[in-house]
Structure formats: structure tokens, C-alpha cells
Amino acid sequence: MTTLTISHLTKRFDGVTALQDVSFDVAPGERVALLGHNGAGKSTLMKIVLGLIPATSGTVSLMGAVPGSRAARSLAAYLPENVAFHPALTGLEQVRFYLRMQGEPPREALPLLEKVGLGHAAQRRIGTYSKGMRQRVGLAQALIGRPRLMVLDEPTSGLDPVSRRDFYAILDELAGKGAAILLSSHALTEVEARTDRIVILSQGRLRADDTLANLRRKAALPIRLQVTARPDTADSVAGRLSGARRNGVTVDLICPQEEKLARLGQIAGLEGMIEDVEVLPPSLEDLYSHYSRRDGQ
């Protein structure tokens, strides 16, 4: 039983195709990262899932409910990109407002604000808040009423590193309770450590939908070996290993996964000439570029 099922979703705006035949699903407790360039269709996909805009064709089901129906809206929580609130209301009043709209008791507002680290500012107007604080009000409202699906659009933009860590701790707790999480982000390193599965959209098409380990294996991207030579030997090291010298002492070697050991053997043979060697597996950035360019541009 999946929480969110998207099948053959297509969305066109005045002739422009924003999403083309996108299908994937999110299971309870699963944290899925949605990656893509600006304009890849991430926000459009999220708005369709939330029922804010209609799909051109294809279906979306939220535990059997149609997006936009009252049932679906009670199940899903949303944190928009650059979340905004009325500046004249206080944090506490704003969260109480959303609690009542969700049909939950308003007395939960203060505990929710404390949970996101805003207890001290609860009585101040949102107009006086920093961007990071507004983002945390946004998170507080998304936590209302045990949501079964959290849709988070660039949730950590504007948060400092400590707040980001707290934010992911809260997400992990929710996922532990069975909430399905769909989040988009540009901070690839965060996504790498904090999500279970990665969906890559490019130009409205689904390019990848798998775990990070599987994506790495399927892409079979080359490995980079970074050799640090002793002073004055960089040129001869570069010559012998037929690599490219990057600066005074570093030589870069690129090799496919299966040649890694052979290459390391060669490097070990030059023992007297080198200080150190580092093995760099393909980064998430490399993987992301690989998948989002494939049969694209």
C-alpha cells in the first residue's frame, strides 16, 4: 500500500509541456528527494499532488483520495518554497489559525512552535521574523495533525546548518511514524544523507527513480584518483601514470570502476615519488548531471 501514487502524469500550460508521462510512488515512512533544475517541473508536480492545479492527464492518488478533495487535503501537509505569512499576525496566531483550519485544537500551537525552536518568538509578529524563522513557522504548520504525506518544496533554503540538522531530525521522526515525505532540494549533499530514494526530473520527464546506491551502480561513472606527488616530481609522476597535472604537486587520474585496483597498483609502484593518494567516488552532483542530461540536451 503506497501513500502517494502518481501514474502517467502530464501537465501542459498553453502549449508548454511542464510534465510528461511521470509515474512514481511514495510508500509510508519513505523519504523521497525530487531533484531537477529550475523549471524541471518539481513545483508543478507538487502543486498537482496537493490539488492546487489540475493535471492535463494521468492520475494521482493520495491513499485512494483525489488531490484537492477534502479527504486528500486533510492527509497532506505542504511547505511551499519561500513560505509567506501575513506580517501583521504573530507566529502563535498564525499557527493557531492553521490548527483550526485543520480541525485540531489551537492549544497545540505553542508546543509546535517550541518544537521548531520558535517558542521565544511566538508572541512576535511574523513581519519581524527572519527568513529562517518564517521557514520554521512553515515547518510548524506542516507538522499539524499527523500528516500522512509531507510535500516540502526547498524546505531548507534559508536555514543555517544547525537548523537544517534539527529540521531533518524532525523529518526522520515523522517518517518513523509512517509519514511519506516528498521533498525537493538543491542541497544535494543533504539529500544524499537524509533520503531513501531519489527521483530526478528534467524538462518535465522522469530521468531516474531509485536508491542512491543503485543509481551509482547503473550510471557506472568513472572514479577519480587524486595523487599527491613529492615536490618536484609532479611532472614525472604525471608522465608515468599518463594523468593530468593539476597544480604543483597534484595529479588527477580518471578511471572506470573496474580499473581502480590496477591503477592503485601502478601508483603504489611509484612509492618513492608520492606523498598520498585519494580515491574519489562519483559525487551526487556528477550523478545528477549524468541522469538529468541523459537523452536530454
Binding site: 509567506a84 499576525l89 492553521y98 509578529r125 512553515g138
Partner: protein
């Protein structure tokens, strides 16, 4: 219902903090005081009590001021939310657009009722204090009060509809002022010109009364002037008011708020966040 009241509560707080409550009440109070002070001269000559005279003046004032205050409060209601980016989030909650609009409407109508009560209360107190006979004019004043609130409700609804159609606060403000100018000022001038040109023909007798009834502001003025003979006498246009039935004018005053709200809800449904 809880959701409507929640929306109303938030909107009332915002109105209070944006000084809309203070501005609306101050506007009505100041204009009522000015009318009370200047409206004292013709009393003896017409034989009407002082409050009835004031009500006649207040009716003319309310026709201009109440729609203006209502439109000023309403124009930002939807366009402002679209501009700030607060609309998509609230629409992901299990609340309907009609509930959101009705909540804003309740709050704004409350502010308007408060302003009307303050303004007319001051006028009544001033009249009764200087002329003991003025109590005779109280029913007319009460009638003016609740019809003013209905007139305000109409223009709140129209303001929301414009706000939803414009989607940008600047454009919505322009549309609101334009609409006020057309319905409140130009409409009457146009009718007047048409009546003069027609010279008592079919237009004046058959079409003109219905055109007056169709405009919520004219219907409001007609009802208030026709319903009170003393007021009509004081205003000097009892004759014009007499040609149209009071109940039809009242029907227009009462139906317009519903029509305007329906328009507002329809226009809001077309907004994609």
C-alpha cells in the same frame, strides 16, 4: 462554521493592526460630526425635527462613503494573498474558498458596522442633545444604519470579486476606485442626462425607475428617502422617490449583498494559486 469564524478572526486582527478599524471609524465619525454641525440651519423652515434632517444628510453621505470604505477594505483581500504568496498554503487545508471569503466578509462587515454605528451614534447624540423633538427621527436613523451595512456588504462582495479578477493589489485598487466612480458618481449623472434628453418620454416613465433600482447605491438612497416622509421632505426629493415602490427598493438593497457575494465566490474559484 469553525473555519469561517477562524478566517474571520484572523482577518479582524489584521484589520485592527493595519489600522483599518481606526480609519473606518474615524472617517464615519468625522463626517457625521461635520454634518451634524452644518445641518442645523434649515430645521425650522421645514418643520422637520433635527434628527430627520441629519438622517437626510447622512443618507447622501453614506451613499458616497460606505461603498468607498467597503471597497478599500476589500480590494486587497484576494489579490493581496496572491501577491504575498499566502494563498497556495491555505488552500491545501481542508477549507473551501467560499468559507475563506465568508470569513473575510464577516470580519470586514463587522468593521463597517462598527464604523457606521459610531458615526450615526454621534449624529444622533448631537441631534437629540440640541433638539428634544429629535427622538422622532430615531426609526429613520436605525433604518439608515442597517441599510448602510447592507450597502457596505454589497460593495465588499464586489470588491472581493474585483480583487480575484485583478490578482494584483495595484490593479485591484484601480478597478475598485473606477467602479466606485462609475456606480456612485457617473451612473447618476448619466441617468440625469438621459432623463433631461428624454423630456418625460418612455425612458423616464418605463426604464428610468428600473435603472435606479438596479444600482445598489441608488436603491439604498431611494429606500431611505421613501421610507421616511419627514426625511424625504427634508431632502427635497420626495417626488422622485415616490414614483418607485419602497418594497422594490428594499428588495434591491437586500438582494444585492447576496448577488455580490456569489460573484465574489465565482471569481475566487477561477483563481489558480
Amino acid at each position: 462554521m469553525t473555519r469561517i469564524l477562524t478566517a474571520a478572526g484572523a482577518e479582524a486582527r489584521i484589520a485592527l493592526r493595519n489600522r483599518w478599524v481606526a480609519i473606518a471609524v474615524a472617517m464615519m465619525a468625522v463626517f457625521s460630526m461635520v454634518l451634524s454641525a452644518t445641518g442645523s440651519a434649515p430645521t425650522g423652515a421645514l418643520g422637520a425635527d433635527r434628527l430627520s434632517v441629519t438622517v437626510a444628510s447622512l443618507t447622501s453621505l453614506a451613499v458616497y462613503l460606505v461603498p468607498l470604505v467597503a471597497l478599500l477594505m476589500a480590494f486587497d483581500a484576494i489579490a493581496g494573498e496572491v501577491e504575498r504568496g499566502t494563498l497556495p498554503l491555505v488552500l491545501t487545508y481542508p477549507v473551501s474558498r467560499a468559507e475563506l471569503i465568508l470569513g473575510k466578509f464577516l470580519a470586514h462587515l463587522g468593521v463597517l458596522a462598527l464604523a457606521v454605528a459610531a458615526g450615526y451614534g454621534i449624529a444622533a447624540a448631537a441631534a437629540i442633545w440640541t433638539d428634544p423633538r429629535a427622538q422622532a427621527g430615531l426609526p429613520a436613523l436605525v433604518r439608515l444604519g442597517w441599510t448602510s451595512v447592507l450597502l457596505g456588504a454589497t460593495f465588499l462582495g464586489i470588491g472581493y470579486a474585483l480583487s480575484a479578477l485583478a490578482r494584483r493589489p495595484g490593479a485591484a485598487a484601480g478597478l475598485a476606485i473606477g467602479l466606485w466612480l462609475v456606480l456612485i458618481v457617473l451612473y447618476d449623472l448619466g441617468l440625469l442626462a438621459a432623463v433631461v434628453a428624454d423630456g418625460g418620454g418612455r425612458f423616464t416613465t418605463q426604464v428610468f425607475p428600473w435603472l435606479l433600482l438596479a444600482n445598489p447605491a441608488d436603491a439604498f438612497r431611494l429606500y431611505n428617502l421613501a421610507a421616511s416622509e419627514a426625511t424625504a421632505a427634508a431632502a427635497g426629493i420626495g417626488g422622485a422617490a415616490g414614483t418607485i415602490s419602497t418594497s422594490l427598493a428594499l428588495a434591491s438593497v437586500a438582494l444585492w449583498p447576496l448577488l455580490a457575494l456569489a460573484l465574489a465566490i465565482l471569481a475566487f474559484r477561477r483563481v489558480t494559486p
